[in-house]
């Protein structure tokens, strides 16, 4: 093997793959606890001063996300088909990961999410099962996320909220016109709208500035650092310890193991495309719910012929992504909803849809507007509306400032045949097997989405919309933002990949923590839970390391 520097490079205590929602938190926690940490991140390290409002950069140049030209995906509906090249996943590809460009919705899971299997029973066609932890186990870490990452919100505002030990650190962001219309209409229908918890600061917090309501949140990085990405909330604190090195533009291709079956470090391509080896006493994989299983499957060895940590055969299986649909309504007066954050009101009255409807699922609906000018002009009008010409221009002119959207987010049931795997033919720019998604929505998921689309249209009606349309209809999904479930946690090594502390069942010094750890999908906004899991995993990793269960220098 022509790998540079393997003998000379000192071993890190921990090597973390991925500086995103989870990896940055674990890096900060481990570094603060005294460990030497190396983080390998495939994307760049951008600063808040690098962010702007240039939609062209975002829409055409994949500035903050995976580049499907250099990193092709393939997609198929079932393993009976040959997968075709098709953009299937989108994720943040930079230090901070998806938390840099995400909308900022920070829903906690509810108690039911952890125990659905025992409460609801089996659901045909799924591998529905309870989590090995409960809401109560995770609650302190949700609170930690809200306070240390920085979440704006109003405790107790939703009658459906699970119990919490502390209020939010800062109050909710100002309501927008879409939020007011949503709130009035929802109450008319007997529902319970409330101020959306957002990872965007309404007031200064922990040395960071408050939101200036520029309106460029979704898909953009925040110029003032008010969005609570791990880039601004965690990474600076990790680096301030002097013990955390962030190595960017580093594409990991394999995690290595020794004869005893312990991981020894990772082989990666550096910014110049040269192979390097970084040794470590332990490895934590936080590469997201699609790239994590891909890396484990690429890390085959004599000891682990099916891929690392994959004795269960479940690495990459039970991929979930949440259902989503969006409707739009036009009102008489200007809402100017292009200003400020995307979402200001949400409701969770249908967190668990009554099973008498004949399907299982649930979700939430929010009042939002995703309309930066180019994206609205290209994708915001009715699907059967004008696409060019005088009528198109007139419609844009009339509706842009008067439109709001309602987005619904819902359950994806865990189906074993929905997978992330390695494409046998297509390769990426580094010569590695392309990420292949195999996905077909469970019939209940489609019914859940339709239920929400109908409720959202009712809500627009009650709000007095003079015109309304479905802008992102219920359909069989072939593209995912939320990447969940592919290395599920559990107590039994035969039916899960990691234990309840995120340690791989098969490898004592390998940890996996990101969306892949999810056992069920929740209802649509996974970031808060990914981050709570990361804080919790870090606590246990630190405890194990300090009690000598993982070799380290601290």
């Amino acid at each position: 093997m022509s790998i540079a520097s393997s003998k000379s490079t000192p071993a890190a205590d921990f090597l973390i793959v991925g500086a995103g929602a989870a990896g940055s938190i674990i890096a900060r926690e481990l570094a603060v606890a005294g460990f030497k940490v190396v983080v390998l991140e495939q994307g760049p390290y951008l600063k808040t001063s690098d962010f702007d409002h240039d939609e062209v950069k975002i829409v055409f140049e994949s500035a903050l996300v995976n580049d499907t030209k250099r990193q092709p995906n393939t997609f198929r509906r079932s393993d009976q088909e040959k997968a075709k090249v098709h953009p299937a996943v989108i994720y943040g590809r930079m230090v901070g990961g998806g938390t840099v460009h995400f909308t900022g919705n920070m829903w906690r899971l509810h108690e039911i999410d952890f125990v659905e299997r025992s409460r609801i029973g089996a659901i045909s066609g799924t591998g529905f099962t309870d989590w090995p932890i409960t809401y109560a186990d995770l609650e302190p870490y949700y609170t930690k996320v809200e306070w240390e990452i920085g979440v704006s919100g109003l405790a107790g505002a939703s009658p459906f909220d699970p119990p919490r030990s502390k209020p939010y650190p800062v109050p909710p962001l100002p309501v927008k016109s879409s939020g007011v219309l949503f709130e009035h209409a929802a109450r008319k229908l007997g529902w319970h709208p409330y101020p959306t918890p957002m990872a965007i600061l309404s007031q200064p917090h922990r040395g960071r500035a408050a939101c200036v309501h520029c309106g460029f949140c979704e898909f953009f990085g925040c110029e003032v650092g008010a969005k609570s990405s791990t880039l601004v909330a965690m990474i600076p604190e990790a680096q301030a310890t002097g013990r955390c090195e962030i190595r960017t533009n580093s594409v990991v291709r394999k995690i290595e193991v020794d004869k005893a079956g312990r991981v020894t470090g990772a082989i990666y391509f550096d910014a110049q495309g040269r192979e390097q080896f970084q040794p470590a006493h332990a490895v934590v994989v936080c590469a997201n719910g699609a790239e994590t299983p891909r890396l484990l499957l690429m890390s085959k060895s004599n000891l682990f012929p099916r891929g690392l940590a994959n004795s269960s055969g479940l690495v990459g299986k039970y991929f979930m992504q949440n259902g989503v649909n969006v409707v739009s309504g036009v009102f008489e007066h200007p809402l100017n909803d292009f200003k400020s954050v995307v979402v200001s009101r949400v409701l969770h009255d249908f967190y668990q849809i009554d099973p008498k409807h004949g399907f299982y699922g649930g979700g939430g609906m929010d009042a939002r507007f995703e309309g930066t000018p180019i994206s609205f002009a290209l994708g915001g009008l009715p699907l059967d509306g004008p696409r060019w010409g005088r009528e198109f221009k007139t419609m844009l002119q009339e509706v842009y400032s008067r439109t709001m959207e309602i987005a619904s987010h819902s359950t994806s049931l865990p189906v074993e045949t929905n997978t992330i795997s390695l494409d046998p033919e297509v390769q990426d720019a580094w010569g590695l097997p392309a990420l292949r998604m195999t996905y077909r929505d469970h019939p209940d998921d489609l019914k859940t989405m339709q239920f929400f689309q109908d409720r959202a249209m009712e809500l627009l009606e009650a709000a007095g919309a003079r015109q309304k349309w479905v802008s992102y209809p219920v359909h069989e999904q072939d593209f995912a933002f939320h990447l969940l479930g592919t290395c599920r946690m559990g107590g039994d090594p035969k039916t899960s990949v990691v234990n309840k502390y995120h340690r791989a069942h098969d490898v004592p010094n390998l940890f996996i923590c990101d969306g892949s750890s999810f056992v069920t999908s929740g209802r649509g906004q996974p970031t808060c839970t990914i981050q709570a899991l990361a804080f919790r995993a870090a606590d246990h990793i630190i405890r194990s390391a300090k009690s000598g269960q993982i070799k380290s220098s601290a």
């Binding site: 100002p174 016109s177 319970h192 809402l335």
Partner: protein, 204 residues
């Protein structure tokens, strides 16, 4: 829409009150100024020559763009200098669409001869004739590429070379402000503040 620097600064200082980040407080107005500068530079300095199109191709593409977002009571794609945005796109981030444009323009010419034998080029057709022709190709890849580029060039940040004098933004009522404060629109103007609603505290 006119922006109000005084109000913006006032809001900014309120937002930053209590923040230990002196750098941000000191530099944010400069960041805004840099944006303004780049924007006005792009506005005054229209490209002298095309990077990809021949003058003949440019005339044809501009005529197509001017049907996608026409000039009527308000300015359209032509006035927003969308053509320059498209030319720059094809020379830079959308280089791989060059062949599609070259081929599409040849086919546009053929279509023109086929439908209107007396016409020399698409741009010389009457507006109803142009619309008639475009309807025959509107489902095709070439038209879709020009459509996406035209819309993008009409609404992009003016630093990108299109949206001249913010013509696109003004049309739809977008002001491009980096700092806003509530109320943002008509319906949140008299909002009294969030109060628990009906059945608050009780699960229905």
């Amino acid at each position: 829409m006119a922006r109000q620097p005084a109000s913006r600064r006032q809001f900014l200082s309120r937002s930053l009150a209590g923040v230990g980040s002196a750098w941000l407080a000191g530099n944010w107005p400069e960041i805004l100024a840099a944006h303004e500068h780049a924007r006005s530079a792009a506005q005054t300095d229209s490209p002298a020559k095309f990077e990809f199109f021949t003058p003949e191709q440019a005339a044809e593409v501009e005529a197509v763009a001017a049907q996608i977002i026409p000039t009527d009571e308000t300015p359209g794609a032509r006035e927003a200098r969308v053509l320059y945005f498209i030319d720059r796109a094809l020379a830079t981030f959308d280089r791989d669409k060059q062949a599609l444009y070259s081929k599409g323009l040849r086919e546009l010419q053929q279509k023109c001869v086929e439908l209107f034998p007396s016409a020399a080029t698409f741009s010389k057709l009457s507006s109803p004739q142009q619309i008639e022709l475009l309807k025959t190709i509107e489902k095709g890849e070439f038209f879709e590429a020009v459509r996406v580029h035209t819309i993008t060039g009409f609404f992009c940040d003016p630093e990108r070379g299109g949206n001249y004098q913010q013509i696109g933004w003004k049309l739809i009522g977008f002001d491009g402000a980096h700092v806003n404060e509530p109320p943002f629109g008509h319906y949140d103007r008299d909002y009294p503040g969030w109060e628990p609603g009906n059945g608050s505290g009780e699960k229905p």
